[in-house]
Symmetry: C2
Subunit: 252 residues, 2 copies
C-alpha cells in the first residue's frame, strides 16, 4: 500500500490493529520516534515543512534508517493527519509487540491500569507521566481509547517508544497478579486517604473513566481503594492529574 493511503487508513483503530502500525504526528514526536528503537515504515511531509532545517534533518534520519520519505501536498497531508497542528510532518511506524508475560518482574513493580479512560489527551498525558515516574507498565482495559490513536501518541510526547503500554483483559491481569504476587488497588473517591497504608513492593493501581470512575467489574477485584483528600467544593480531579499524584504518592 502506498504510504499516503496507508497513513489515511491508519486513522481507523481496526486498520491499526490489523496492520500492527500507527501514525506519529508533529516534529517533536517524530524526532522521538526516529531516536527510538521502533521500526519506522516511512515519513510524509509537506513542501513547507521540508523547507525547515529541523524537518529536513528528520527526513535524513528517516532515510538513514532505510525508510521512505514522501513529500505531499498540504491537502494530501491534511487528509491523513488527525491531531491539531501536526506541523506538516507524520511518520508511520510499527506497534511494538508487547505482552504482560514479557514485562520485567522484580521489586519494586508498579502497574497502572486504565479502566475505560476515554479522552486521548488524558491517556497520552498519563503515559507520559507513567514513563517519567518509572512505572513498570501501563495496561489498557477494554473500553479505554486506543493507545495507538494519533492523538494519544502525540500527547504522550514519545512515552510510547520506551514505556511498555499494552492492552489486556481483567482476567489476564488476574493471572499475572496471582503468578507474581501483585496487589490490586483502585483510585476511588470513597477509598481511604492515600498514605494511610504503606504501598506493597508490587502494586497495580486502577484508574477509572473520567465520569463514571472505576467499573464494577474492576471494583469487585480490587483489594483496596485509595483517594486523594480534596476540598468538598470540588467534585473530582482531572484523571491525568489524579493518576499522576497517586503514582507519585505510591512510588516505591
Amino acid at each position: 500500500m502506498k504510504l499516503l493511503t496507508l497513513a489515511r487508513d491508519l486513522r481507523r483503530r481496526k486498520a491499526r490493529e490489523r496492520q500492527g502500525l500507527f501514525v506519529c504526528e508533529g516534529v517533536r514526536a517524530v524526532e522521538e520516534l526516529v531516536r527510538s528503537s521502533i521500526p519506522v515504515r516511512g515519513m510524509l511531509a509537506t513542501a513547507h515543512a521540508m523547507g525547515t532545517p529541523r524537518t529536513a534533518r528528520l527526513a535524513d534520519l528517516t532515510r538513514a534508517r532505510g525508510a521512505a520519505v514522501l513529500e505531499v501536498s498540504d491537502a494530501e497531508f491534511d487528509s491523513a493527519a488527525e491531531t491539531e497542528s501536526p506541523q506538516g510532518v507524520l511518520a508511520v511506524a510499527e506497534v511494538p509487540a508487547r505482552t504482560l508475560d514479557a514485562l520485567p518482574v522484580g521489586d519494586p513493580l508498579r502497574l497502572l491500569v486504565l479502566d475505560a479512560v476515554q479522552d486521548p489527551g488524558n491517556v497520552g498525558t498519563i503515559l507520559r507521566t507513567a514513563a517519567a515516574l518509572e512505572v513498570t507498565a501501563t495496561l489498557a482495559l477494554p473500553g479505554t481509547v486506543d493507545l495507538w490513536n494519533a492523538k494519544v501518541v502525540r500527547s504522550a510526547m514519545g512515552a510510547h517508544f520506551h514505556h511498555p503500554a499494552l492492552v489486556c483483559t481483567p482476567d489476564e491481569i488476574d493471572a499475572f497478579r496471582r503468578r507474581h504476587g501483585v496487589e490490586l488497588w483502585a483510585a476511588d473517591a470513597a477509598g481511604a486517604p492515600v498514605g494511610d497504608v504503606p504501598a506493597p513492593a508490587r502494586l497495580a493501581l486502577v484508574v477509572g473513566n473520567e465520569g463514571a470512575g472505576v467499573s464494577d467489574l474492576m471494583r469487585a477485584r480490587v483489594e483496596r481503594s485509595v483517594s486523594l483528600p480534596i476540598a468538598p467544593t470540588v467534585e473530582s480531579l482531572n484523571v491525568a492529574v489524579a493518576a499522576g499524584i497517586l503514582m507519585y504518592a505510591l512510588r516505591p
Copy 2:
C-alpha cells in the same frame, strides 16, 4: 448590548477586561455557575438544548436569579461559543473582583503562581487542581493565558467560582511576600528534589511556561527551586500534572 452580541464580543480578552464579564459554556459549568455566588447576566441556549430537562432546569434557576434566558438558533449559538461541544448552553457572568490584598492570610498559606502558562486546557486543569488541594489562590503573571477565556473556564469545571484566581505582576507578588513573610519557590528541573527541605508555612510556588519553563524575571526572585525526580528518557512532565504533584508534595 443584546445578550447574543455581548457573548460574541466577550470572545476577545480586551472586551472581557473592559466589561468585567466572561462566558461560561456547557451544561455542567453553567450548573456550577448558577449554584455559585457569581452574578449571572444571562443565559443563551439552543431550542434543542432547551428541550432537555437538565437545561430547562438551568433556565429556571437562571431566571430565578433575575437573569434573562434567550433561546437562539444553532447558528447564532455557534457564533458565540468557543469551546468544543458546548452542548447548546452558555451563560454570561461577572468576573469577581479579587485582589491580592483581599486574600485571607493565615497559616498555612499556599499560592500557585503561573508564569506564562499558555495552554487554556492546562490552566483550567491547574485551577481545578488548586481548588481541590485547597491552595489559597492562583496568581497569573503577564504572559499567562487569560484566566477568564471560555476554554479555561470550561476545563476548570467550576473552580473559578470559589477558588481565588487573579492576575498580578511580579512586583505586586514581591510586595505581598514582604508584607506577609511568604517564601517564593519555583518548579525547575534543575532544582533540588522536592521533599529534601520541609515547606514553610507560607509558600508561593512558581510554575513556568510549557516549553521555556520559569522566566528569567521570576528565576531571579525565587529563593529555592524544586524538582520532581523523573526518568532520564522523559524530557518533562505536562505542566498541569507537574503542578498537581508539586502542590500535593508541598501541601501543609
